[in-house]
Amino acid sequence: MEFEAILLLGMMYFMLYCSVFWLLVYYDKRKVMKIDPIPTRFPLVSILIPVWNAEDTIRAAIDSCIALDYPNKEIIVINDGSTDKTKEICEEYVNSDKITLLNKTNGGKASAMNFGIKHAKGEYVSCLDADSFFRPNALIQMIGYFEDSAVGAVTSSMKVYNPRNWIQMIQWVEYIFAIYLRRLMHFMNCLYVIPGPGSTYRRDVLLELGGFDEHSLTEDMDIAFRIQKAGYRITNSINAEVDTIAPDTLRGLIKQRIRWYAGFCDNSVKYKSFFLNPKYGTLGLFVLPTSFIWVGVLLASSITLIYNVLEILITTTKAYLAVGFDLNLVLAKISEMLAVGPTYITWFAVIFLLISVLVIYLGLKSAGEMINFKQKYKFYALHLVGYTILISLMWFFALSYLAVRGKSEKTWKGTTI
């Protein structure tokens, strides 16, 4: 057997293994997928909104905090040196005693969060990006998890707010899948990101760990690794929904993903002791090592796809230049290709298609979006067609960024908010 075929089979075994693993976790936990612990007490929660030049969205973000049905909360907005009208908008809320506003010079999201934590009085600290909005029940769904003293942080379920173009539509599906996967990772205690929109922390844990790393590209991943390392659990509430505005331009998406993926690589190096370490269970033995293999599989699939498409285009162009367009020749070629019939690739393609459909169904069911499937079927079509290539492209940019990054330039000042 050729090396290429062996590599392909190896990739298929790996993809199949990961898919089966998460499907089995789902099957095992299907009855408790949507159950959050009911809180018996309602301690004070400080909601921190770090903001930098978000005059278009800050009002809706603050309003969503005010509308939370949690009875014991304080809202703190940290203005990280905004140069637009953000400060003026926030001052309107200060005047009506609804929020506390802290102003500081621009230092990045992590610095703003650390500044806010120092002023927070709550037993728990909830973080909300300025372009995100809580659903009213979000906090109450999360707070019950903290009654287990081992829990250091609880993540929410993020959904893309009002997707309008193809870039946001693709991300909408990606986020739905992430909601399902994050919940499964919760069951296996292997969450390694605590996203900015809507996650809640035990304040003492944050103080014990010295707050967020102000030099990290992805402070939300860095803090997750440190929480895990300190022996605390990171859990997820699938019912705590938060809407977030996803990038709507390719440029914006590239910028976001370079930060995410390069941050993942940075943190993987920084916390390399997690890899293949039985102390960190599923996270160390399975999730982190396979994440890197997935990147390889993703890039290899995209390169193969692009190569095949180019090959077909070149062959077709050459044929056209050789004899001009001839419909009979085209039809004859198609019928020859069809005559080959099914191969073992057909079997795996059918299996992966079935798994994809099943995962889409489970994702929609878990995220409570089954009802919207008919309106959003085109999102899935776009996702199926463009996601692999798009994310590969983002990884390509992120890896290029890492390759050319100077040692001195490690922060992403001002742009993480």
Binding site: A5, L16, V20, L321, A322, N328, T343, W347, I351
Partner: protein, 220 residues
Amino acid sequence: MNIFIKTTIVTTAIFAIGIIVGLWLGQEKVSVFESELTSLRGSIENTELQFLFLDVLGSNVSCTYLLKQANDLSAESENLAKQIESYETSDKIDESSFKQLKSSYTTLLIKDWLTLEKIKKTCNATYETVLYFYSNNNCSRCSEQAVVLSYLKQKLGENIMTFAIDGNIELNVISALREAYSIDVFPTLIINGGVHKGYVNLSQTKEILCDYNKNLTICN
């Protein structure tokens, strides 16, 4: 049971079914080719025998009948050639059984070409024979040459008999042919015995064919 063990069992089972299905499909395909190859071998032997009757014994087998046989033979081998070429580029688990099959097929194709050449000379047939040597490796223009020949076959029908031979196949007869015609590049065409090395485009191929037979439809 530990989830990793469960996952390994389920994954390996699905994977093994995929491999078994792949091997079975490959074997089935090769079996179909083998039976078609046997049928082609029978047709060639039959035609050869009839040719011998005409050539040696001066029997009552007419050239008209032999020419009809030649056309049928060409159609049969070309049909099989297309199937084998398509299968060659598809995904296979078991390459070895296909390689064996391709060797037998190539031998038969050369036999077919020789038979048709003999019939052409004896019966003054009007068809032209094109032996096309290609390579699956390092031949940037072979795909274009194949398109040119497919196009001409489609236009000329029974007036052209094409035989696509993989020049890299390890067979004594291929080595002999390569030596006889000094074939050191791909593609190479042998049109009615004349050697044309390198890519021959559509108008050049038309010109060569028309030099042999001005009555072909493409020569107008």
